[in-house]
């Protein structure tokens, strides 16, 4: 390539003041104008830190020591102000609630223009244009509290795109989006890249979802260093992702399971164009060779919900005549569009909200006359936002708090807490203050704090959002274990379709205030009407099966079984 790189790092290292070791180590990186780059890597590998170097938050807002050189569009990051850099690079942060500073959508979009002292007619023209592009025209006067996660995400994008900066940086844009919105966001980013000739850097754990649109380069980080930097196809072919403990696209795992040699394949990064000699035969042969085990049936009702009704505003019911029964020992996934009421339903079960009408029976006893605490002794609830649950400053104390309040013997507390911390991958941090943890680590602390109490049922609201594959697998394995061995009933709220397939035996699809479907996960994903209605998405396994005339349900079920056995 003849053009000069727009982003260039040469032997660049960075160490936060509070750390004993550098977080970024000897990075060498060049990104060229017009490229679309995905940065992946385990949690804590320094992806966000790299992002902060790009937009100038490091060294302007975060103090630390820097060595080597880093330039963005010709500006040296160590001497440029955040304002200068922000004209070149627009950042969409992970948490749209904090990025959304305006009182309404349109004000938030105009925020940077206001700071540039643009006139009102200019701002109106710009907001109108971008509202049309991002399909926000009907929402312009809405307040952030009235928007769904996906809509907030689009507002954040609009507020950054309005600057016409040539580089865009996204830190985990998909973390809390439902599958359909995630797909739509990626398609939108792709379209903008081409229409506006942008350079795009995306940091994300959901690699398969990002790869649905073409990506020019994949950069993999580990422990603060770049361990792979190439076209996605090359990295996928070398199976680097799997070696580094990252999730590779599912169809690749399936090919490997079926014994396909990746060296024979072309277009490995795009399922639609994938070409493998004799693939159909190989897959059919593999499928025929696997026997499906009969799933265990659970028929002992634990939680019975009958004709439940709830709304915040009588004009717009959120839960409407909802009835469902959860059985003892089940592992259930609750899925549905952003803003459809999944968190609301768990709040009703745990007593955080009171239904307008309906019955809730747990073990045959009504929950409605029990207090929040009484319900919590039986039903553990892990909220979506870990910051809302953490009340101590040290990790150990936080996990021990519930046991201490229940008057458990100190020795037993110590033993149970340490065991739980090991399971959740937090043992080595046990003496750290919680404030020094990453989002994913904090989430694990809250899960540990509930697990240690051993309730009869656990509800987890998006437990794996923002987690890397290793921790995700550890946690899910642990949940499966307590589900099998101790018979704890588990309900997971999730946007991750593969998690739903791989770990749960029953899926409840919520939509329009009621249950749209209640079936096995594989059946849900073969129902196109439901997928559409509930903003779900098929995983690449379904496409692969359909391309090769296999029964998708059976193929997926066999794949999941084989993966489970391999673990």
């Amino acid at each position: 390539m003849m053009t000069a790189p727009i982003i260039s790092f040469k032997d660049f290292s960075f160490q936060y003041n509070s750390q004993t070791e550098p977080t970024l180590q000897h990075l060498n990186l060049a990104i060229y104008p017009g490229e679309k780059v995905l940065i992946a890597g385990p949690s804590g590998s320094g992806k966000s830190t790299l992002g902060r170097c790009l937009n100038g938050l490091i060294p302007q807002s975060y103090q630390g020591t820097m060595t080597g050189s880093a330039t963005v569009n010709g500006h040296d990051i160590s001497t440029s102000s955040i304002f200068e850099l922000s004209m070149d690079i627009g950042t969409v942060l992970q948490d749209p609630d904090s990025q959304f500073v305006g009182l309404t959508v349109v004000e938030d979009m105009a925020f940077s223009l206001e700071n540039d002292q643009q006139t009102q007619p200019n701002m109106q023209a710009a907001t109108t244009k971008w509202a049309q592009t991002l399909n926000l025209t009907d929402l312009l006067t809405h307040r952030p509290q009235e928007l769904s996660g996906g809509q907030k995400q689009r507002v954040s994008m609009a507020g950054v795109l309005i600057d016409n900066s040539k580089i865009l940086l996204f830190d985990e844009p998909l973390a809390s989006l439902d599958p359909a919105s995630g797909k739509a966001s990626m398609a939108l980013i792709d379209q903008l890249t081409r229409d506006e000739e942008l350079t795009v850097v995306i940091i994300e754990h959901r690699i398969e979802d990002v790869l649905q649109q073409p990506i020019d380069r994949l950069i993999v980080m580990q422990d603060g260093a770049i361990v792979a930097n190439d076209k996605p196809e090359a990295i996928l072919r070398a199976s680097l992702m799997a070696q580094l403990g990252l999730r590779e696209p599912l169809y690749l795992s399936a090919l490997k399971l079926a014994g396909v040699d990746l060296a024979d394949c072309t277009h490995l990064d795009r399922l639609a164009d994938l070409a493998v000699p004799n693939l159909t035969a190989t897959l059919q042969q593999w499928t025929a060779g696997v026997d499906l085990k009969v799933p265990q049936v659970h028929a002992d009702p634990l939680l019975e919900i009958d004709q439940l009704n709830f709304d915040y505003d009588p004009q717009r019911p959120i839960i409407h005549n909802l009835s469902v029964t959860l059985n003892r020992g089940e592992m259930i996934s609750l899925v549905g569009q952003n803003g459809t009421g999944k968190s609301t339903l768990s709040n009703l079960i745990t007593g955080f909200l009171t239904p307008q009408s309906g019955k809730l029976l747990f073990n045959g006893q009504s929950l409605l006359d029990q207090s929040v605490k009484e319900r919590a002794d039986q039903i553990g609830y892990i909220l979506q936002d870990p910051n809302q649950m953490i009340s101590k400053t040290l990790i150990f104390d936080e996990v021990a708090a519930g046991l201490t309040l229940r008057g458990v013997d100190p020795d037993e507390i110590e033993q149970r807490v340490l065991a739980t911390l090991k399971v959740c991958g937090l043992y080595e941090f046990r003496h750290w203050p919680i404030s020094a943890l990453s989002f994913g680590q904090k989430k694990r602390v809250t899960i540990a704090a509930i697990l240690v109490l051993q309730p009869a049922m656990i509800i987890l609201d998006e437990p794996t959002a923002g987690q890397d594959l290793q921790h995700y697998t550890e946690m899910m394995t642990f949940l499966t274990k307590i589900n099998r061995e101790q018979g704890i009933t588990i309900m997971l709220i999730t946007h991750d379709m593969h998690l739903m397939l791989e770990y749960t035996d029953r899926t409840i699809v919520l939509g329009n205030g009621t249950i749209l479907m209640d079936a096995s996960p594989a059946d849900v994903l073969t129902n196109d009407a439901i997928i559409d209605q509930a903003s779900l998405a098929k995983t690449s396994l379904y496409e692969l099966a359909e391309q090769h005339q296999l029964n998708p349900t059976e193929f997926v079920a066999k794949f999941v079984q084989a993966e489970r056995e391999a673990r």
Binding site: T393, W432, A436
Partner: protein, 186 residues
Amino acid sequence: MQNKQSTSIRTVVATGIGAAIIFVLMKFVAIPTGIPNTQVNVAAGFLALLGAIFGPVAAGLAVFIGHALNDFVTYGSPWWTWIIVDGLIGVAFGFAKNRLKIEDGVLGTAKLVWFNIYQVIVNFIGWVLLAPTGDIIVYHEPATKVYLQGITTWLVNSISVAIIGSILLVLYARTRTQRGSLKKER
């Protein structure tokens, strides 16, 4: 710490979020003391922390805005003398920032004792001297009534800061990580 630009933006945001928290604490959070009509003033305790972290400007403005908004929506009209006094107390708490150096991560007993003496004096000047005098001059209310109100507020707020403020300060200091202090333990 950070560069000047970042600090000034942080002050703006701390003022706004601080005001939002003070508003919510004043309006919804009440720990009854057992004496009728008297509540532990949680907002005052929080103000001590806000001042110690963000300094006089943010603390003073935050409590001024939060208190004024709260008066506005609860009583229809703001009671300006008390709002101004609250703002001044916020400023005074903010001046303790340099002495407490809470960002450094340690808050010894000596500093804590000093702060509590300081806050009792600040509250005394504010609630027993300034606020009632303001009420007499501006609103022409009878002296006995406003002084009694002032003394009650002084006691309640000093105790609230002594309990809640001190706990918050200590816990916050504990969350601050010291330079080069984080290391994984196997």
